[in-house]
C-alpha cells in the first residue's frame, strides 16, 4: 500500500483506505471514491495536483488529498 500520490503515470491502483477528516471523505464518497474502486493515474508530474481516471470520470486531486488515499498498485 502507498499513497495515491506515489503512483506513477498510467499506473493502476485499488483504493484500500481513505484517511483524513470527515469532510474529505464525504466529498470523495460523493464522487465515487470509496474503498475497493480501481483508479488509474492519467497525470502525475510529481508536483501539483494529480489527474486520475475513476470509472468514466476524470478527477483532479490536490496533493493533500492524494496523500490521504492509500492504494494497492495492481498494474
Amino acid at each position: 500500500m502507498k499513497p495515491l500520490w506515489f503512483l506513477g503515470m498510467n499506473r493502476t491502483g485499488v483504493v484500500r483506505e481513505i484517511a483524513g477528516g470527515r469532510g474529505v471523505r464525504k466529498r470523495l464518497t460523493g464522487m465515487g471514491f470509496i474503498e475497493g474502486v480501481t483508479v488509474r493515474i492519467i497525470k502525475n508530474d510529481n508536483y501539483g495536483p494529480l489527474i486520475v481516471s475513476l470509472g468514466e470520470g476524470r478527477l483532479v486531486l490536490g496533493q493533500g488529498v492524494a496523500n490521504k488515499i492509500m492504494v494497492e498498485e495492481v498494474g
Binding site: 469532510g23 464525504k26 464518497t29 460523493g30 488509474r40 495536483p49 481516471s53 475513476l54 468514466e56 490536490g62
Partner: protein, 683 residues
C-alpha cells in the same frame, strides 16, 4: 402568464436535481425557455433558479437545485438542495443522470429515493454514452429503481416531451415508498432500533421519513443531529444513535458512514451489472478528452496555453467592447439632453434638473458604461466554462495559488477581476469552501480593473510618456503582489489551519451551445444591471447631494460639502504627496467608479478632461503622481464592488472590512512610495 398567476397557490412544483456537468441546466433551459428567474436562497449565496413550464395550458413551477454529487451536507449547495427537498416537498423531482458516467451519478439518485422523493430520472447524454460504447437497458433500470426513466439528449432537445409528460404524471400520482437498500444484518438491526423510536415520536415521524432519518443519524450527520436535538423529546433517540454508531465501529472496525456508502455503491453496481453493458472497460480507454488534456495540462505547455487563452478573452472583451462603450455614453448623453430639455420646458428648478440629469442619469450612466465589457467578458467566461476548459485552467494554476493557501479554482475570480472586480467577486461562487471564498473575495478588489486604467493613462501622459507601458505594468504587478501578500496574511490570521481539499471534476470537452452560453451570460449581466438600479443608485444620489450642498454653492467646488470633506481629509494625504483638497475630492468621487477620478479632476481644475494633463503637469510632481496612482489602484473599491461584496458574502462585516483594509493598504503604500522616493532624492 395569466394562467400562471391564477395557479400561484397550490401550484405544482417540479424540482431538478443532478450532478454538476450532468446537463441539468440544459434540461432546465429546455423546459422553461426564457421564463426564468435567478435569486438567492435565504441567508446563503447559493443561486436559486426558478422557471415556469407551460404544458397543455397549465403552468408549473420548476426549481433548479444546485448541482451536487451527494446530499450529505458537505457544502452549502448540498444543504440547500437537501433542505429544499425535505421542507418544501416538491411534487416531483427530475433527477438528471449523466448516462455516460452512470454509476457515480446514481449515488445521488439512490439518496433521493431513500428520502422517499417522487423521482423521475432523465437519463441524459445518451449520445455520449453511445459514443463510449455503453449500452443501457432503460426499462431494466426503471424497474430496478422503481421510478420512470426517460432517455434524453438535452443539447439536441431529445426526449424533452416525454420527460415533461412523465414528470407531470408522476406529480399527480400518490407518493411512492422510499427505496430500501439492504444494509446488512449489523446495520439493519441498529436502523430498526432507531426507526422504532422515530415512529413513536409524532413530530419526528411527520417531518422526516423514518428510515431516512435513522440512516442520517447513524451517519452522524451533524446538520440533521442539530435539527433533531432542537425538537423536544428526542434525547433517547440521539443517545441510541450514538450507542449504535459506537457499536458498529467496534463490531466492524469501520464507521457507519463508510459502511452505508459501501452498501449504496454495492446496490448501484448491482443495478449497473444488470442494466449496463460496456464494450471497453473505462480504465483502458484513452478518450478524446484525455488526448487534448495531454497537451493542455502539460507541465511546460500548460501555462503558455492558459495565458494565450486569457489573452484571447481580454482581446475579445476589450477590443470588441470599447467601441460599444461610446454607444452607451452617447445614449446617456442624449437621454440627459432630452430629459433636461423636457424639464426646462416644464419649468423645473435648476436643482431638480441637476438632480435628475447630472445625479441620476449621469451617475447611473457612468456605471452603465461597463455593461458592454461585462456582457462580453461573461460571454467569454461562459464559453470557457461550457467547453470544459475552465476546470483545466484551475488545474494549471493550482501550483501558483497554493502559495497563497488557496487552490486553483480561486484563480478564476482574480483573473476576471482584471476586467471588472464585480464579475470577479461573483465568480468566487464556484468555490465550495466558504473560507476560500471569503479570502478570494477580499483580495479580488486589488486586481487592477479596466476602470482604473484611464487614471493611469492620465498621469502617465502628464509625466512618464516615455515609460508608459512600464509604469502601467508596474501597477498591475503591484496589485497582484499585494493580493498575494494579503491572501497569505488573511489565510494565516483569519482562517488558520484549514486547508480545504482540492477535488475537482474534469468534465469531457464539449462544444458549447450558443443558447446555454447566452443564458449564462444574461443571468450574470442582469444581476449587474439590477445592482446599478439599487445600491449604486443610492451612492450616486448621495455624492451628487454632497456636491451641490450647501445651497447655492458652485457644484463640486471647494465650498460644497464634498469640497469641504475633501479639504478635511486632505492633510491625511500630505505624507503621500497629494495633500490637496482636489486630490481628496477626486478620490471620494472615485468610490462611485474609479475612472470618475479623471473627470472629477477635470471639473475641479476647471479645464475639462483635455486640459487636465497640463494642469497636472504644473501642480503635481512625478513622485506624487505615482503615489496617487498607487492609491487609486489599492484604495476602497467602487460602489458596484462594495454592493457585490455585500451581496456575495451576505455580511456587512466583511464588506466594511474590505472597504477599510483596502483604504489603509492604499494609504500605507502611497506614503511608502512617496517617502522612500524622497529619500532617494526623487520629487
Amino acid at each position: 402568464m395569466e394562467a400562471a398567476r391564477v395557479l400561484q397557490t397550490g401550484e405544482t412544483v417540479i424540482a431538478m436535481a443532478g450532478n454538476p456537468n450532468s446537463g441539468k441546466s440544459s434540461i432546465f433551459n429546455n423546459l422553461t425557455g426564457a421564463r426564468q428567474h435567478v435569486g438567492n436562497y435565504a441567508g446563503v449565496t447559493v443561486e436559486k433558479k426558478e422557471g415556469k413550464l407551460i404544458h397543455q395550458g397549465k403552468a408549473y413551477k420548476v426549481v433548479d437545485l444546485p448541482g451536487t454529487y451527494s446530499l450529505g451536507a458537505y457544502s452549502e449547495d448540498e444543504r440547500v438542495a437537501r433542505d429544499f427537498i425535505l421542507k418544501e416537498k416538491p411534487d416531483v423531482i427530475i433527477n438528471v443522470v449523466d448516462a455516460s458516467n452512470i454509476e457515480r451519478n446514481l449515488y445521488l439518485t439512490v439518496q433521493l429515493l431513500e428520502m422517499g422523493a417522487n423521482v423521475v430520472v432523465a437519463l441524459n447524454m445518451m449520445d455520449e454514452a453511445k459514443e463510449k460504447a455503453i449500452h443501457i437497458d432503460v426499462a431494466k433500470i426503471s424497474k430496478l429503481l422503481g421510478v420512470p426513466v426517460v432517455p434524453t439528449v438535452a443539447t439536441k432537445k431529445q426526449g424533452m416531451k416525454e420527460l415533461v409528460v412523465r414528470a407531470i404524471q408522476a406529480a399527480n400520482e400518490p407518493k411512492r415508498e422510499a427505496l430500501k437498500i439492504n444494509y446488512g444484518s449489523d446495520l439493519e438491526k441498529e436502523l430498526k432500533k432507531l426507526e422504532d423510536i422515530i415512529s413513536s415520536h409524532s413530530q419526528l415521524s411527520q417531518e422526516y421519513p423514518s428510515r431516512y432519518l435513522a440512516i442520517k443519524l447513524l451517519e452522524e450527520d451533524q446538520e440533521v443531529y442539530q435539527q433533531v436535538k432542537a425538537i423536544p423529546g428526542t434525547a433517547e433517540l440521539l443517545e441510541q444513535s450514538e450507542e449504535s454508531a459506537a457499536f458498529l465501529l467496534d463490531e466492524t472496525g469501520e464507521d457507519a458512514e463508510s459502511l452505508i456508502a459501501d452498501r449504496r455503491y454495492g446496490f448501484i453496481s448491482g443495478v449497473s451489472k444488470q442494466a449496463v453493458r460496456k464494450r471497453i472497460s473505462a480504465e483502458q480507454r484513452l478518450s478524446f478528452s484525455d488526448k487534448i488534456d495531454k497537451v493542455v495540462t502539460h507541465r511546460v505547455l500548460g501555462i503558455p496555453i492558459f495565458l494565450a487563452a486569457m489573452w484571447l478573452v481580454f482581446q475579445f472583451t476589450f477590443a470588441l467592447g470599447d467601441p460599444m462603450i461610446g454607444w452607451v455614453e452617447g445614449f446617456f448623453e442624449i437621454l440627459g439632453g432630452v430629459v433636461g430639455g423636457w424639464l426646462a420646458a416644464a419649468g423645473a428648478s435648476d436643482l431638480i434638473t441637476s438632480f435628475i440629469v447630472d445625479g441620476i442619469i449621469g451617475g447611473v450612466g457612468s456605471v452603465m458604461v461597463f455593461i458592454p465589457n461585462i456582457v462580453l467578458l461573461f460571454f467569454a467566461i461562459a464559453l470557457l466554462e461550457n467547453s470544459g476548459y475552465m476546470a483545466r485552467a484551475a488545474y494549471v494554476m493550482d501550483r501558483f495559488m497554493n502559495t497563497l493557501g488557496l487552490h486553483g479554482k480561486s484563480f478564476i475570480p482574480l483573473l476576471v477581476g482584471f476586467g471588472c472586480n464585480v464579475p470577479g467577486i461573483m465568480a468566487a461562487r464556484t468555490l465550495e469552501n466558504k473560507k476560500d471564498r471569503i479570502i478570494t473575495i477580499l483580495i479580488t478588489p486589488l486586481m487592477s480593473c479596466a476602470a482604473r486604467l484611464p487614471v493611469y493613462v492620465l498621469f502617465v501622459s502628464a509625466f512618464f510618456s516615455q515609460y508608459e507601458g512600464l509604469i502601467i505594468f508596474s501597477l498591475y504587478l503591484l496589485g497582484i503582489v499585494m493580493a498575494v501578500i494579503m491572501g497569505v496574511i488573511f489565510k494565516r490570521l483569519l482562517f488558520p489551519g484549514e486547508v480545504s481539499p482540492f477535488v475537482l471534476e474534469l468534465p469531457p470537452y464539449r462544444i458549447p451551445t450558443l443558447k446555454a452560453t447566452m443564458i449564462h451570460m444574461w443571468e450574470r449581466a442582469g444581476i449587474f444591471v439590477k445592482k446599478a438600479g439599487t445600491i449604486i443608485f443610492s451612492v450616486v444620489v448621495l455624492i451628487w447631494a454632497l456636491s451641490v450642498l450647501p445651497w447655492g454653492v458652485e457644484p463640486g467646488s471647494k465650498e460644497s460639502a464634498l469640497g469641504q470633506i475633501g479639504s478635511f481629509f486632505a492633510p491625511l494625504f500630505a505624507p503621500a504627496g497629494f495633500g490637496s483638497w482636489e486630490a481628496s475630492t477626486a478620490l471620494i468621487f472615485g468610490i462611485l467608479a474609479k475612472e470618475v477620478v479623471v473627470g472629477t479632476l477635470g471639473v475641479i481644475y476647471g479645464v475639462g478632461e483635455e486640459g487636465v494633463v497640463t494642469a497636472i503637469h504644473q501642480l503635481w510632481t512625478p513622485l506624487s503622481a505615482y503615489a496617487f496612482m498607487v492609491m487609486t489602484l489599492l484604495y476602497t473599491p467602487c460602489a458596484a464592488v462594495i454592493g457585490t461584496i455585500k451581496r456575495e458574502t451576505g455580511s456587512w462585516k466583511w464588506t466594511v472590512f474590505t472597504m477599510v483594509y483596502t483604504l489603509v493598504l492604499g494609504w500605507v503604500m502611497a506614503v511608502l512610495v512617496y517617502q522612500v522616493g524622497r529619500l532617494f532624492g526623487l520629487s
